[in-house]
């Protein structure tokens, strides 16, 4: 009898200790992962509406709770999305129609697997020798599902919209990859922890290589359909977008997936260019070693996302040809120039 309870206790403790309180898991679930992403996404969407309203002489969401600036409005919107009926057209490929938005949402969080939040090895999700390369590679997976959504919709307008979206995918992936990897020749490493450790000297890579920072910023805006490049959303408002056949919560997943991808990229930019947890040196212990540095990174990433959201108030929408010509004619030369700048700085001996 004693042995049976003992075994049950051991199993329960094992589940708690190795699944929930296992450090890599709560790194993936709690702080840069799912919970933090949802909180940040809700805050950023609210901020986006309020900032655009301030600039454009409006008020923004206010009616539900005027004292808090209408902050519960997004929860109300979420409830409304959840209540809405999901209409599945009879012609669609059912499995891929349902799976593609979910897979896109999940895979947009996947770069968090390779992102360290502290320099203490016991809190890393994976060993960190090629983490920057892995994070950049994983971030390129989720846009495939936009094309898959348009194909599964089985509507020629959606297929056209997905094709146009894939033009942008091809254009921005190159920019994002080159500009994020342009720190590599400067520091001779793919390891995000080493990259952050170098920036404790005060020489943030965003200051050493501002071209790469600017380029990565614009590429993230393009990839997550941020405002000047909000082409898939604007086509869905007509009937030519990749999400035209989607409704209800499935459409909400597309919108939220874009914001979560932007969150993952922002954490990556904060680590690579803005010093990560730079002013603070992690010490042993879960609070000092994991929570405080990760909160510093989160604050930096939220500031990046807020600047990206602020652009909604200023810019108008680009057409597809404008976005593509900006990508191929301006941003890719800038990305290559940023790479060259890194090589030059390595040549004159900036690197450690």
């Amino acid at each position: 009898m004693i042995t049976a309870t003992r075994v049950l206790y051991d199993i329960g403790w094992g589940i708690l200790h190795y699944i929930i309180f296992y450090p890599p898991v709560y790194q993936f679930v709690i702080i840069p992962g799912l919970v933090a992403a949802l909180v940040v996404v809700i805050f950023i969407i609210w901020f986006e509406r309020k900032a655009a309203a301030r600039v454009q002489m409006r008020y923004g969401p206010l009616e539900i709770s005027p004292r808090t600036g209408g902050a519960p409005q997004l929860i109300a919107d979420l409830v409304r999305y959840m209540m809405q009926e999901i209409i599945v057209p009879s012609a669609v490929d059912f499995m891929s129609y349902i799976l593609a938005p979910n897979m896109s949402m999940i895979l947009s969080l996947l770069p968090m697997v390779a992102v360290p939040m502290t320099s203490i090895p016991s809190y890393w999700p994976i060993p960190m020798s090629y983490s920057l390369l892995i994070a950049v590679a994983l971030s390129t997976l989720s846009p495939i599902f936009v094309v898959m959504m348009s194909w599964a919709s089985n509507s020629k307008f959606s297929v056209l919209g997905g094709l146009r979206e894939s033009f942008i995918v091809v254009a921005y992936e190159l920019i994002a990859v080159i500009s994020l990897l342009s720190v590599v020749p400067l520091l001779h490493t793919f390891d995000l922890v080493t990259i952050v450790d170098y920036q404790f000297s005060g020489r943030w890579l965003g200051l050493l290589n501002p071209l790469a920072l600017l380029d990565a910023f614009i590429a993230v805006l393009m990839s997550t359909s941020g405002f000047p490049f909000e082409i898939p959303d604007s086509e869905s408002e007509l009937v030519a977008g990749p999400y035209t056949e989607y409704s209800g919560l499935l459409y909400g997943l597309n919108m939220g997936g874009a914001y979560i991808r932007r969150w993952a990229f922002s954490v990556l930019i904060a680590l690579v260019f803005l010093g990560g947890w730079a002013p603070y040196r992690p010490e042993p212990g879960i609070v000092l070693g994991y929570l405080v540095p990760s909160l510093i990174v989160v604050v930096k990433a939220v500031i990046i996302m807020a600047i990206m959201s602020f652009l909604r108030a200023v810019y108008g929408r680009y057409r597809l040809d404008q976005a593509l010509s900006l990508a191929w004619e301006v941003l890719i030369p800038i990305a290559i120039a940023a790479f060259g700048l890194s090589v030059f700085e390595a040549f004159i001996g900036v690197h450690p």
Binding site: R54, V55, M57, R58, Y59, P66, A313, V314, V330
Partner: protein, 196 residues
């Protein structure tokens, strides 16, 4: 002779000038309004535009002044105002007699104010508000008793009165009525619809 307008020139000669000047200018304007917002949207039930006296709002009849001349019903271009016959007791002659009094149908009224203008004894007047809601269309056809009562201005209970003022630097600015009256004659109200 009007002054020549001076156009602000943006350096658009080269590609770099175009890109940097255009984007930076837009961002600076955005940051300026983000820090110091100029919100001109009217939050309707919580704020309402204070209209001045003489605004052609709803029409009220003063029963004792009416001499049943029917000028108002004759001049009404929308045929909203009609005369109805009522049994009243005449004070001078001291006997019951039939007289005609105007009633109004707000389904048809276009608030032109001709009836108020033409009334020889000033028996009709406007109230300076116009945003009332009726539950059905039958309620919008008033009888003589209802026509004599001033309609209840419900918005004034909930909201604060505001008015729009033209500012040289910021353009149209929304201020509350007390502030605008403190500013005196330097600012002129620019909004408020067709205030006459």
């Amino acid at each position: 002779m009007p002054a020549r307008p001076s156009l602000k020139r943006v350096p658009r000669a080269t590609f770099l000038g175009r890109a940097i000047a255009g984007n930076l200018g837009a961002l600076i304007v955005g940051v300026k309004y983000f820090i110091d917002p100029n919100r001109i949207t009217l939050l309707y039930p919580h704020e309402y535009i204070k209209l001045r006296q003489g605004y052609r709002g709803y029409i009220v009849l003063i029963f004792d002044k009416c001499i049943s001349c029917a000028s108002c019903a004759r001049i009404c271009p929308a045929r909203a105002m009609k005369m109805v016959t009522m049994e009243v007791k005449d004070k001078k002659l001291n006997r019951a007699m039939k007289k005609k009094y105007p009633v109004i149908n707000y389904n048809r009224c276009i608030f032109c104010g001709y009836c108020v203008d033409v009334c020889p004894t000033e028996a009709l007047y406007h109230v300076p508000y116009h945003d009332l809601v009726y539950l059905n269309m039958q309620d919008m056809i008033l009888n003589v008793e209802e026509f004599q009562k001033e309609p209840e201005f419900v918005t004034a209970k909930e909201g604060v009165p505001v008015t729009y003022v033209f500012d040289e630097k910021r353009g149209l600015v929304k201020v509350s009525v007390e502030e605008s009256s403190n500013q005196g004659s330097s600012s002129q109200p620019a909004g408020g619809g067709g205030s006459s």
